[in-house]
């Protein structure tokens, strides 16, 4: 369990994290989603006691991270893959980390196996690919068999097999009742992995809800309809306050009413419907809508430049 209360972080005049509060619950995967520079990593570093908050506070499993007697057994974190001395081997790096908590070498070998580092464990970390670095970071996070696992952009640089492995790992950890908090700027990845989503933009929480709720809230019930006498159908629906967009003589997209209601009206009006397809908003669309303000704000800041390219960059 991670509890963040009114947390802020300012660097000079720039506010990286702006008075955010949220709770990460055990037993599920919580995604921390936001564009680059939104404040995800800063927040995670404050959780781990590396950065000092400008205001507010954060606890993990009931205490500030630095107050735990055995922090590695409480919380494991991958913050950045290259937080390792480049001349040291992966095995020795993990051994040195484990020694601080009296964690036996047996466990070091276990996490090396688990993360698939076996073949390169005795090699210097300096020669590692980004993907191998990520695996080493995850191995370090799991060393203490912690109840809370924090992974910052864990799939960066991983091959497809590795991406799938991280997905399974996160779900397995959550299924064991652990708190799993992972950040990403990729909405598609979150849709596959996370149960709960915290969306951050420009240092502020934009949304904090189960993934399905976020999708539902953003979808304004758009339905694609193929029917023989569309005109009659739309007339019948006119009283419901819908908007419609005609694509073909017998194909229309209706917004603002449930599919069931459309079918009911069709029966009353004696219209033959031969296709009725609810269009679900993808998480990607939902995310774009959520962060739209932030993006527009960005492009206004760059008003001297081509605003179209600026806004697409912001995305």
């Amino acid at each position: 369990m991670i509890e963040v209360q009114s947390l802020s972080k300012k660097y000079g005049t720039k506010t990286a994290v702006d008075d955010i509060s949220f709770t990460v619950q055990p037993g599920k995967v919580t995604g921390f989603l936001g564009p680059n520079g939104a404040g995800k990593s800063t927040t995670m570093r404050m959780v781990m006691g590396l950065d000092n908050p400008s205001a507010g506070h954060v606890t993990v499993n009931g205490r500030h991270y630095t107050q735990h007697r055995a922090p590695l057994r409480e919380v494991g974190a991958l913050l950045d893959a290259k937080a390792v001395h480049t001349k040291r081997s992966a095995y020795n790096h993990l051994r040195a980390m484990a020694a601080t908590h009296g964690i036996p070498n047996r466990r070091v070998e276990e996490v090396i196996e688990l993360t698939g580092l076996g073949p390169v464990a005795k090699k210097r970390v300096g020669g590692f690919s980004l993907g191998m670095g990520q695996r080493l970071g995850i191995a370090a996070a799991l060393l203490g068999n912690p109840h809370t696992v924090i992974l910052d952009e864990p799939i960066n640089g991983l091959d497809p097999e590795g991406v799938q492995w991280v997905r399974h790992l996160a779900k397995d950890l959550a299924a064991q009742g652990r708190t799993v908090f992972l950040s990403s700027h990729l909405m598609s990845e979150m849709a596959l992995t996370a149960d709960h989503l915290i969306v951050i933009g420009r240092g502020r929480i934009i949304a904090d809800a189960p993934i399905q709720t976020i999708l539902d809230a953003q979808s304004t019930s758009r339905v694609r309809v193929r029917a023989d006498r569309l005109h009659d159908l739309l007339n019948g629906l006119a009283a419901e306050g819908v908007t419609s967009q005609l694509f073909e003589p017998e194909l229309v997209e209706i917004t603002g009413v449930e599919p069931r209601r459309i079918a009911e009206v069709a029966r009353r009006e004696d219209v033959l419907i031969y296709e009725l397809f609810p269009l679900q908003v993808s998480l990607e669309d939902a995310y774009m809508q959520l962060t739209q303000d932030e993006v527009e704000y960005q492009s206004q800041n760059m008003s001297d430049m081509n605003s179209i390219s600026a806004s697409s960059e912001g995305r």
Binding site: L50, A77, H101, G144
Partner: protein, 293 residues
């Protein structure tokens, strides 16, 4: 590659962290730092270099003392330096064990700076402080490991220097025993001196968080600063007085065989240098506590 198992599955994960003896202790932090110290190649290379340079310099200066004694003997009696007492070749020969210290200190200072500043250079410091979130514990453990190693390097190098130089000095009958006044103290304090050099350098490394800058600063403090004081000593009397309290100058009194007039005693010198080390180290810890990593 296994994708399913996280072993062992915890029945009651909430209590996992609260088992007795599972947490951080200073001894464990030390052990971790020791593992880190022994698993980077630069440590071993710098230590070996230091020992070789210090013993080599001692052998060379032993040789030069014998040459001095020889040439002295050929001079007319009225310009000869005395065979005994201060200033004689035999008296100078007593300092042979610590003659490599001036260069040894630069190598140890570099080693200490590299060991601590590379944590920031490589990003390792974040792993270190996640494992040991109390920053003073983590940094003191490293400082202690580095200074104990520095002590052993200084002590062993001085002892080897003594042993290597005796046969050379023996050619002119200038060999001396360990029980001679101040000789053993000088050898032991060669270790103490390098340990304090290491502590000061670790503090500089923490404050600057930069390997190159840290080494330049340490060399500046131990090597260049005394030269500057020497150069400007003509300006005022207090300059010479103040120079005695520079960390390197004060510390060197610990290894001096004889204390010259007006100089600090070995104990005063040692305490002065220790004070420098403590002030810098405490300053470094206070600064680190407030910093983001």
């Amino acid at each position: 590659m296994s994708t399913q198992t996280i072993t062992p599955p915890t029945q009651t994960p909430q209590t996992a962290g609260h088992q007795n003896g599972s947490g951080i202790t200073f001894a464990r932090a030390l052990r971790s730092e020791w593992i880190k110290f022994t698993t980077v190649p630069s440590s071993v290379i710098l230590i070996a270099t230091t020992v070789v340079v210090m013993v080599g310099l001692a052998a060379l200066s032993a040789w030069s003392f014998t040459v001095l004694a020889q040439s002295d003997a050929q001079l007319p009696p009225d310009v000869q330096v005395p065979l005994e007492g201060p200033g004689s070749a035999a008296a100078m020969a007593l300092t042979v064990s610590s003659s490599g210290l001036v260069f040894g200190q630069l190598l140890i200072a570099s080693l200490a700076v590299v060991l601590i500043a590379s944590e920031w250079a490589t990003g390792m410091i974040r792993s270190t402080l996640v494992a040991v979130p109390r920053r003073s514990t983590a940094l003191l453990a490293k400082a202690l490991v580095v200074s104990v190693v520095a002590f052993l390097v200084g002590f062993v190098s001085a002892l080897l220097s003594y042993l290597v130089s005796q046969p050379i000095l023996g050619m002119e009958n200038m060999s001396f025993s360990l029980t001679e006044d101040g000789v053993l103290r000088s050898i032991v304090n060669s270790g103490t001196y390098l340990a304090l050099i290491a502590l000061i350098s670790v503090a500089i490394g923490i404050l600057l968080r930069n390997t190159a800058g840290g080494i330049v600063t340490a060399v500046g403090v131990f090597f260049v600063l005394p030269l500057v004081f020497e150069l400007i000593s003509g300006l005022a009397d207090w300059v010479t007085e103040a120079a005695r309290y520079l960390p390197g100058q004060a510390g060197m009194e610990m290894v001096a065989i004889t204390t010259s007039d007006g100089a600090l005693t070995p104990l005063e010198g040692g305490l002065t240098m220790t004070a420098w080390a403590l002030v810098l180290l405490i300053g470094a810890l206070v600064v680190t506590k407030k910093r983001d990593v």
